[in-house]
Symmetry: C2
Subunit: 169 residues, 2 copies
């Protein structure tokens, strides 16, 4: 779903909401609501036992005495849950060619059991590749905000996307 | 395990291998071997079905025709597996106070089923916090290299760590 841009000075007046299928459809300044996810204590502990077993992610008792005053999700769990929203609402299956990385990944506030986190993606930059003319390179500001309006995660993601097959621009 | 530094001009001559327990123990230039992980096709598909269900992560047939010529792990799966090695070999449970984020995250080569990936952590910067004197702020270059010597992931992670309780420097 296309939403207004989120407080920057980009011109969104030309943006249409025709759906995102190819690189050509992503216009700088357009923001997309990518839906929300919730996360339970069991899910937080289960993910963290496997990938990030620090006390404040896996042990409610230790977490209560720890730096966050309670159990919090691994930042990698948050990132993975955010990714799922992007795959479902922002990155087109037929055109996505993977990502070379991301920048300025920030975990700004903890995600706690029961939190509901909404994900928003804003196209920051989109340019055709010179070396591989079948694709474009897009940068997206990804923001994840909890039910209290606090930003929990922010990052600038880079993605490769196929251009529309008949595109010759 | 402390290893030589990895091709930079840092002086590692003062580094000792006494174990990493507090902020004070992390000296810029020191590199640590954080062990390795392997990942199977089942694990790749299972993680990606939950968090990153793009065709080249979940569907071997589609993946064979896709941009990587075969199934590859979600970059978020690789990142989570790398994190586990850092928790087990680099970040001290008693002193770790979480991470505000990371920079320059790069997925440089795909991780494929059966790959074995070794993780190395190099202390890039370590400074005491001015505002919170109980802690230090450390930046680490994290590198993950597969069995063929190809770097699959690289990032600069920031971590907050408690200083040694009797530390007054």
């Amino acid at each position: 779903m296309l939403v207004r841009n989120i407080g920057r000075n980009w011109d969104t007046s030309v943006v249409t909401d025709d759906g995102l299928r190819y690189f050509d459809d992503y216009l700088p300044g357009a923001s997309y609501d990518c839906g929300s996810f919730s996360v339970s204590e069991d899910e937080i502990v289960s993910f963290a036992r496997q990938f990030d077993p620090q006390p404040f992610h896996v042990d409610p008792g230790a977490a209560a005495r720890g730096p966050f005053g309670g159990l919090v999700a691994s930042g990698w769990h948050t990132a993975a849950l955010v990714m799922r929203q992007l795959v479902d609402h922002y990155l087109p299956a037929a055109a996505s060619l993977g990502s070379p990385g991301l920048d300025e990944m920030r975990w700004l506030n903890p995600v706690r059991p029961g939190d509901t986190v909404r994900v928003q993606a804003t196209v920051m930059e989109a340019r055709r590749s010179h070396s591989k003319p079948d694709r474009g390179i897009m940068k997206t500001v990804v923001e994840a905000v909890n039910q209290d309006g606090e930003t929990v995660m922010r990052a600038i993601a880079t993605n490769f996307l196929r251009v529309r097959p008949d595109s010759d621009s």
